[in-house]
């Protein structure tokens, strides 16, 4: 019995030692919550330098406010205000009672009703995330719309075979808020003619604001049963974000692709998440990416052909982007 008692005591000592070694830093203290968020962002957020943000001075502005927050909702408001200084659509704050995010200011410049009424008069089909059809004016132009990249794009080979004899394709990614980069990459690779460098990704490797890895190169990898060699016009607007900005960079690098419309919303950083000491969660990018020429597209991918958005025309049901795309494909 003595031995059993001895071993039990030793076991309990080990257990308590373990609790000492691995301390739980969980707390609801507002200052500690603020410090955890501020320090984590300081160490891992990738775009302070790019955005010219003085994170240290923001600490001085917002930390004293936490003392007067009094409620969890008040603390949430202050932390949201701090994060809003980043103006980054990849930054979110999640709590049990609310979620905060930042939206890029943009204007209405897409009307699917208008497209269906004025351009896709012969109806459309949906295959694996692709909405497609012939333009109804007999121009021989195919129209493919991708609303998101959340799911793998299926059936692109079959869809392209259907339009193999077309004069060109309009790829419409306007209002596509993103999804998974690998899905965007898989689709762009289907239009690639050969392996080529398209972008570079830089990851945080330390707490310094300039501590990044070398640029990891991303190449196109052509695939599919045949190469579609007709003109492609890619339509974009400010609501194209994250994986869709990646898609635009990847497509712009290909021959026969013309990007038309407005600059995308950007979002070159791939987000990570982190649980704060009070159990709330933050999400933010810890990397950034550039195109093959080294231009960071965090603030957007510029189109080859910029179209001024005139609100009154949109309100009348016209779609200047579609009209321009047709002109590019059909030629002068």
């Amino acid at each position: 019995m003595k031995k059993i008692g001895f071993y039990t005591v030793v076991g309990l000592l080990l257990w308590s030692c373990e609790q000492t070694l691995i301390k739980d830093e969980g707390t609801t203290n507002p200052q500690a919550v603020f410090d955890d968020l501020w320090q984590t962002m300081h160490d891992k957020y990738a775009l302070f330098d790019y955005k010219h943000i003085d994170w240290d001075s923001l600490r001085g502005v917002y930390r004293p406010q936490m003392q007067n927050a009094h409620t969890e909702k008040g603390e949430f408001e202050i932390l949201s205000s701090l994060l809003s200084e980043l103006q980054d659509g990849h930054v979110n704050l999640y709590s049990p009672f609310a979620t905060w995010g930042w939206s890029i200011p943009s204007i209405e410049n897409l009307s699917f009703t208008s497209i269906n009424r004025n351009y896709a008069k012969r109806g459309y089909q949906v295959n694996g995330g692709l909405i497609h059809g012939w333009l109804g004016d007999g121009s021989g132009i195919a129209y493919i719309r991708i609303e998101h990249f959340n799911q793998p794009i299926g059936g692109i080979d079959e869809v392209l075979k259907k339009y193999a004899q077309s004069k060109g394709v309009i790829l419409d990614v306007r209002d596509n808020g993103g999804g998974l980069i690998k899905n965007a990459q898989k689709l762009s690779d289907r239009f690639a003619d050969k392996r080529r460098l398209v972008l570079k990704q830089f990851y945080k490797k330390g707490p310094g604001h300039t501590d990044f890895t070398k640029g990891y190169e991303v190449y196109t990898r052509p695939w599919g049963s045949f190469y579609y060699d007709k003109p492609i016009v890619l339509l974009s607007n400010r609501r194209c974000y994250s994986a869709t900005s990646y898609f635009c960079v990847l497509m712009k690098a290909l021959p026969r692709v013309t990007m038309v419309g407005d600059k995308t919303g950007g979002g070159s950083g791939i987000p990570i998440d982190y649980i704060l000491v009070n159990g709330w969660r933050i999400r933010f990018p810890a990397s950034y990416a550039t195109d093959a020429e080294g231009v960071n597209f965090e603030s957007g991918v510029p189109p080859d052909l910029w179209i001024e958005t005139e609100t009154d025309k949109w309100q009348q049901g016209a779609d200047p982007y579609m009209a321009t795309a047709k002109k590019i494909i059909l030629g002068p």
Partner: protein
């Protein structure tokens, strides 16, 4: 200084629990050991949070041992799969953290205090080569992140065993203490994104990688010719602080069957 005290305390306790208690071998040639194990996990990974989270992982283990009078060696393979839970995670959309652990070990020990006769403590010194894969998949409402750690370390170790009689059966306590001196690790990068994550691989110095492992076991023969059952307890603490600080502690309880093959 405080850390040194804690390390010293652990060493003392480990020596007590490891040496005074047990390890896994009967002094009787080659054997195979099968066991079912339950592991209590305790982890803090700064990639995820400063919160500590606890987990449970059932698992299985297969070992081959060769025991001689003055030395022994063994190879074993462990697999465990479970999950972590923490009140903090479920507040903010986190579904769960799934855990997968794989471990392979090779060890050789030689007696440095020979047993002259009968029922006495026998002490061994040896080396233990351990390969460990620790994979935690963080699942939230829309994405998942894989945090995979791979460790390969080599550790000088000491072991002890003492046979005794219990209820007219041959039994044995055994114990093991192991502290690695060199490690090669493969760890997630500083900030791990939901996808396209990169990994670092490097040799770790003692200051950045610390691990201590103790194991205690009790074996009792079921029949004189073929089988024994065993109970074992293992405490495995690991700390890596080269980029993000990651601490893991596992307490592994196992019950199994030993079959002599020679």
């Amino acid at each position: 200084m405080k850390h040194l005290k804690i390390i010293f305390l652990i060493l003392i306790m480990s020596l007590l629990s490891g040496l005074c208690r047990c390890q896994s071998m009967m002094d009787k040639g080659a054997n195979i050991q099968f066991c079912a194990a339950g592991t209590l996990l305790n982890t803090k990974d700064q990639i995820i949070s400063k919160l500590r989270y606890k987990g449970h992982a059932p698992g299985i283990s297969l070992s081959i041992h060769q025991n001689d009078k003055n030395d022994f060696y063994f190879a074993d393979l462990n697999y465990e799969k479970g999950f972590y839970s923490s009140k903090g995670y479920f507040n903010s959309g986190m579904k769960r953290i799934d855990h997968l652990g794989l471990r392979a070990q090779l060890a050789y020990f030689r007696s440095f205090r020979e047993r002259k006769r009968g029922l006495q403590w026998q002490f061994f010194f040896g080396g233990l080569l351990s390969g460990l894969v620790d994979r935690n998949e963080v699942l939230d409402f829309s994405n998942s992140r894989n945090l995979t750690y791979v460790f390969l370390d080599i550790a000088p170790s000491i072991a002890a065993r003492r046979p005794f009689r219990l209820f007219n059966r041959n039994c044995q306590f055994s114990g093991l203490l192991s502290i690695p001196i060199a490690a090669y690790t493969w760890t997630p990068q500083y900030g791990v994104p939901y996808f396209n994550g990169r990994y670092y691989s490097r040799f770790q110095s003692f200051g950045h990688y610390f691990r201590i492992r103790t194991r205690a076991a009790l074996h009792c023969e079921l029949s004189a010719s073929a089988k024994a059952f065993f109970l074992s307890y293992e405490w495995d603490y690991r700390q890596l602080s080269s980029k993000n600080k990651v601490q893991n502690a596992a307490q592994r309880f196992a019950i199994g069957l030993l079959i002599y093959i020679l």
